[in-house]
């Protein structure tokens, strides 16, 4: 491009009125100005209207005591906390669902996507049936189905299904209040185990780079995956026993209506995750299938001819090339999953919309501010996800030679 510009004769000086660059700036400036005026007009009109109707127009409520409880929080929260704290509780609950959902939906989607192309007739048909049936049922119905499917058959607290532990002592309890697990209590020496885990990760990464170097230079493949796994599991395990098992479990005990002690996984959370993961995975599976099919057949034939195994062909030749097709629509699915998590409202999981755009909105009455903040939060989450995915795309982009 720049090379061609040099070849052109020098441009004659023209009046700015006819200069397309100047005109472009002027037009765009006018558009921005018009938009600005429109937004300013709408905002000031809204504020005037709200003040005329005695609707709060500021964020004074943020530091006031909320007065309501939330049954699932990742940070300390009680009825004496502020509305601002309730916002953070809701946001973290949303992020938790989004993170777990994206992780498992991706894994399941990849497995099903590959399975749809499997030469095994049954595997391919099962995958097709799964994708076609769940993809075409509205997510809300699926969520309600899972919520009731989980709750209905489970017994009450007093008749909990007991899951025995290794020592024969009851380990966990399953009932219609959720899954009650022992809560791990970390001793002071547990830091040693964490340090060992960190060290193992570093060692594994170092070995992986070393193995890659060896493979490049000699073509010999070292079992870096297995070695890394052994390190990451083995070293902390040794440290754990060396430190005298600094981890104790706080077992749940049935007291009155509910279990006290232990940690609890809410049925609402499980239902929401099941619904989101199973639904989103169908779309990811289709994206993965399309991505794999976009890689020319000659590529896998050539790889097979080189003597790679079926798994290696998929892992080393097909998927890396397919990823370039898969990543952009995959990003959309991640965003969809995060946004769809707002359906939590219908099954009583306290996510951002339920807590903040629900209870807080209703108690404070600051509808416009709260909806604006909620929309902004989803916008930021989506933009950050997109940013991370485009960064990943740049990492994996084809290097043209």
């Amino acid at each position: 491009m720049s090379g061609r510009a040099v070849d052109l004769p020098p441009v004659a000086k023209i009046s700015p009125f006819y200069d397309p660059r100047v005109r472009g700036f002027v037009y765009q400036g006018l558009l921005v100005l018009a938009l600005g005026i429109l937004i300013y007009g709408a905002a000031s009109n809204a504020i005037a209207n709200m003040q005329a109707r005695n609707i709060p127009t500021n964020f004074d409520f943020w530091n006031k005591t909320s007065g309501f409880d939330i049954n699932f929080t990742l940070i300390p929260y009680s009825a004496q906390s502020t509305f601002g704290d309730a916002f953070w509780v809701g946001l973290l609950n949303t992020l938790l669902v989004a993170a777990i959902g994206v992780f498992f939906a991706t894994i399941l989607g990849f497995i099903v996507g590959v399975a749809r192309l499997s030469p095994n007739w049954i595997v391919a048909r099962m995958a097709t049936i799964y994708v076609e049936s769940l993809r075409n049922v509205p997510l809300l119905l699926q969520l309600l189905f899972w919520y009731n499917a989980i709750l209905k058959p489970l017994p009450g607290v007093r008749d909990s299904i007991v899951i025995p532990g290794l020592s024969g002592k009851p380990f966990a309890f399953l009932n219609n209040r959720g899954l009650v697990l022992p809560q791990p209590v970390f001793g002071a020496e547990f830091d040693l185990v964490l340090a060992a885990f960190g060290l193992a990760c570093l060692l594994a990464a170092g070995f992986w780079f070393y193995a890659r170097k060896i493979q490049r230079e000699t073509g010999r493949r070292l079992p870096s995956g297995w070695a890394g796994l052994a390190l990451v599991i083995g070293l902390p395990a040794i440290a754990y026993f060396a430190a005298g098992s600094p981890l104790t479990l706080d077992y749940p005990v049935l007291r009155g209506f509910n279990f006290s002690g232990g940690a609890r996984v809410l049925p609402e959370l499980v239902a929401l995750l099941l619904g989101l993961i199973l639904y989103t995975a169908t779309f990811i599976a289709e994206i993965v299938r399309a991505g794999i099919q976009s890689v020319a057949r000659g590529q896998s034939e050539a790889a097979l001819a080189l003597g790679l195994s079926g798994g290696q062909v998929l892992r080393l030749v097909v998927i890396p090339q397919a990823m370039r097709v898969i990543t952009p629509p995959l990003t959309n699915q991640f965003l969809n999953l995060t946004k769809n998590s707002t359906l939590a409202v219908f099954i009583g999981y306290p996510d951002l919309v339920q807590v903040f755009a629900g209870s807080v909105l209703n108690i404070t009455g600051a509808a416009v501010q709260i909806i604006a903040v909620t929309m902004a939060v989803y916008l930021v989450i989506s933009l950050l996800t997109s940013l991370a995915m485009s960064f990943y795309m740049r990492l994996t982009a084809t290097v043209e030679r």
Binding site: A52, R177, F257
Partner: protein, 338 residues
Amino acid sequence: MKRISIAIAAGAILAFGATAASAGTLDQVKQRGSLACGSNSGLTGFGIPDDKGQWTGLDVDFCRAVAAAVLNDPTKVKFIPLTAKDRFTALQSGEVDVLARNGTWTLSREADLGLLFAAVNYYDGQGFMVRKKLNVNSALELNGASICVQQGTTTELNLADYFRSNNMKYEGVVFANVDDVIKAYDTSRCDAFTTDVSQLYGERIKLVNPDEHVVLPEVISKEPLGPAVRQGDDQWFDIVKWTHFAMINAEELGVTKANVDDKLKSDDPSIRRLLGVEGDFGKGMGLTKDWAYHIIKAVGNYGEAFERNVGEGSKLKIKRGLNNLWSKGGIQYAAPVR
């Protein structure tokens, strides 16, 4: 989704709508030819469509009474079902003219939300419903229980207060829609269901086996329920308030739907003033002088509306209690028409 769309619609109205829409509600209603009444989406006894699609309930009758007073036709009401969460936004943004949706009168709702509660058409309190087989006789035995509650209600806040002040723990399971709350309670997700006592009776009917459930004796809060209007339109506020007072006064004076025409010939000056035979009390509110006659002709007096919707004449069979007239041991009391 609907809640959010209402909030966004309200935002759009606020952003692009003209100012001063709150003044002159009476003129707007007359011009439109119908009253927009914010109603419960389905609460037996207060606001629920029956099997023929006709809205019934104490709050519904209240809106019909306002329509009768203003438009001389109790059928000219458009009922807009609202969830607990949407209701105040809908009233603030002018989507409804009056909100008769078993809402609790509180300070913050008047001072912070810019509303005015015109009257109390049902004195209620919050209670708990549990399964009989739990053998719980008092709310104080509910330590550690899971409790289903509807979001965005005073109930949610009272619940937190009650357990905190009694040093008890609980798990609140919160849903936006009351039907989801009931469903969760019915599938045993919760040990107890809490809301206003009148509503507990109303919702119990919807359970699979109503007889297996019992309402605990404790009433943990004051819940004066009544119709609300926007601030800034005193005339409209008066109309809504006096609609309720007219119904109370009619009961006190023995004027019923059946005998109201005969009572036009009554010699009692109080009845003559109420029904507009003497004086012209409607004029000050922008109404005709027989406004109260139309109310009673359409829905009857307060006692009749009570018995028909929530009392002995209904499935709920709730006793008058606090809602009896002041002269009969209750606290329903109305200023006189004069």
